[in-house]
Every structure is written in structure tokens, then in C-alpha cells.
């Protein structure tokens, strides 16, 4: 693959792929395979499923690229295809029942615990990361997807709205509620290391 194609914008690659250029598809796979895999893995928490989804996604790209009218929106479209494929898997596997109902979370509990002052070796320990991963997994589907796309994958609110076919305010609402739940679950976990702040109001 030459230098020229590496510098090509997604829109150019999509145009080339629409003309049936295999080099364009190869570059798209090179550019996006890890991103597609990571998103599928985050949404399904299953490495084998993520591989299958990745394969399905790129075959869908070949089959449906002609329907993408605005070439510049390729990455958003790709995320949407990936998200839909992951949802399809979760529905098939009936994995929704493992989610934590939002109403079970007491948002007021642990609000006084200031775990932000804990040392990095506690905050960033493998155990803490595992707790956070499990907490993200436990979010209701709609919130989990938004949290993963925003806070893990780093998409902008507008890109997430386009990917999921929802409004930007809906993205913000799901994100905020998801973060509050994660904060609550982390507070609960970190409370074993800290005492209530005791600061006077």
C-alpha cells in the first residue's frame, strides 16, 4: 500500500470502494479493524463475538457501501453498523437480563466519600479497572452504549447522536445518568479505602 493511499481521507476511500477498488477496502480494514473490534468487544464483552461482529461489519460495508450517500460520514456509519450488529448479538444471546436496574442504585449513598484523593496506585489498580469494566457492563444497554462511545472510544456527542439515531440532548441525558451510576458504583468500591470527607457545608 503506497504512501498516497495512507493519506487519503475516508471520503476518497469510500468513493474508490464504491468503484470496486480492493485496495481501498484493504485500507479501510487496516484503519478501522481495531476500532470496530474494540467497540464490539466493549458492547458484548465477548472476544469471540467481537471477532464475528467485526467480520460481519466489514462484509456489510462491502454490501451496503452504495447506500452511504455522504462519504465523509463513513466512520459514523461504520460505528452505527457495528453497534447494530452488537445489539443483534446481545438480543440473540438474551444478555439484557444481566443489567443493573437504574432504580436499584441509591444515588445519595456515598456522596460524601471523596475518593478522588486516593493515590494513583489504588485508582488505577487492576482491581479498580476491573470494577469499572464490570460497572460499565452492568449499565442498561442504552446508557452503556453512549458511555462506551463517549468516554471509552472518545466520540463527540454529535457523532454518537448520528451513530445511534437519537438527539444530542438524549445522548447527554444517557451519558450523564450513566456516569452518575458509574460514579456511585466506584464510590461504593473505593469506600473501603476512605472515610467520609467530613467537610462542613
Amino acid at each position: 500500500m503506497g504512501k498516497k493511499i495512507n493519506k487519503q481521507a475516508d471520503a476518497d476511500l469510500v468513493r474508490d470502494l464504491k468503484r470496486g477498488d480492493p485496495a481501498a477496502m484493504e485500507e479501510i480494514v487496516k484503519r478501522y479493524s481495531n476500532k470496530v473490534y474494540n467497540l464490539a468487544y466493549h458492547l458484548t464483552r465477548d472476544a469471540h463475538a467481537a471477532e464475528e461482529i467485526m467480520q460481519d461489519v466489514f462484509l456489510t460495508v462491502i454490501a451496503k457501501i452504495g447506500t452511504l450517500t455522504t462519504e465523509a460520514y463513513f466512520s459514523t456509519w461504520l460505528y452505527r453498523v457495528t453497534t447494530n450488529a452488537a445489539y443483534g448479538y446481545l438480543r440473540k444471546e438474551k444478555k439484557f437480563s444481566e443489567q443493573t436496574p437504574v432504580e436499584d442504585i441509591d444515588q445519595e449513598q456515598y456522596l460524601d466519600y471523596d475518593w478522588s484523593t486516593l493515590p494513583d496506585d489504588v485508582l488505577l489498580s487492576e482491581e479498580s479497572k476491573e470494577v469499572l469494566r464490570e460497572s460499565i457492563d452492568s449499565l442498561p444497554e442504552a446508557m452503556r452504549t453512549v458511555v462506551v462511545l463517549k468516554d471509552v472510544e472518545g466520540l463527540k456527542n454529535e457523532e454518537i447522536a448520528e451513530t445511534l439515531g437519537i438527539s444530542v440532548p438524549a445522548v447527554k441525558s444517557r451519558l450523564h445518568r450513566g456516569r452518575l451510576i458509574l460514579r456511585q458504583l466506584l464510590s461504593e468500591y473505593f469506600s473501603k479505602y476512605t472515610e467520609p470527607s467530613g467537610e462542613e457545608k
Binding site: H42, L124, R183, K201
Partner: protein, 83 residues
């Protein structure tokens, strides 16, 4: 500003998308309310830690090779173009 409104604005506060007036109101509130001050700190750190969740890792070379082979076959079938 009350605690409920302050908490509802955390997201926009972190994204720096609040008006000047609201930024000042949030700052004034957290200066005097320890609960919201702690709440904002831990909310911010929750976001920071989420960004540090390790990626599941990369696609293995074997998986990528298998994917490329499947794609080549599909493109050949679709376009009749040898790759």
C-alpha cells in the same frame, strides 16, 4: 443555585459548554457546598478513569488475515475483480 441543578450541569461544566454566568454560578455553589464539591471531583474522576479502561486489545494477525481472505473472496464475488 441548588445542589440538584449544580449536579445536572456537571457534564456541560466539564465540556466547557456552559455560559459564563452558569460557570460562575456552579463555581460559587461548589465553593460553599462540600457535597457538590466532592461530587464534582468524583464525577470528573469517573470520566477520567473510564478513558483509561484498557482497550480489549488489538485484532490478532491471524484473525486479520482470515478477515482479509474473506473480504477478498467477497469482493471477487461482488465485483468479479481478482485481488
Amino acid at each position: 443555585m441548588n445542589c440538584k441543578l449544580c449536579s445536572a450541569l456537571f457534564q456541560e461544566f466539564l465540556e466547557d459548554s456552559l455560559s459564563e454566568e452558569l460557570i460562575v454560578e456552579v463555581q460559587d455553589h461548589i465553593r460553599t457546598c462540600s457535597k457538590c464539591r466532592v461530587s464534582l471531583r468524583t464525577y470528573t474522576l469517573t470520566v477520567t478513569l473510564s478513558r483509561k479502561v484498557d482497550p480489549p486489545c488489538c485484532v490478532s494477525p491471524e484473525t486479520l488475515d482470515r478477515l482479509k481472505k474473506i473480504i477478498r473472496e467477497r469482493l471477487l464475488k461482488t465485483n468479479g475483480v481478482p485481488v
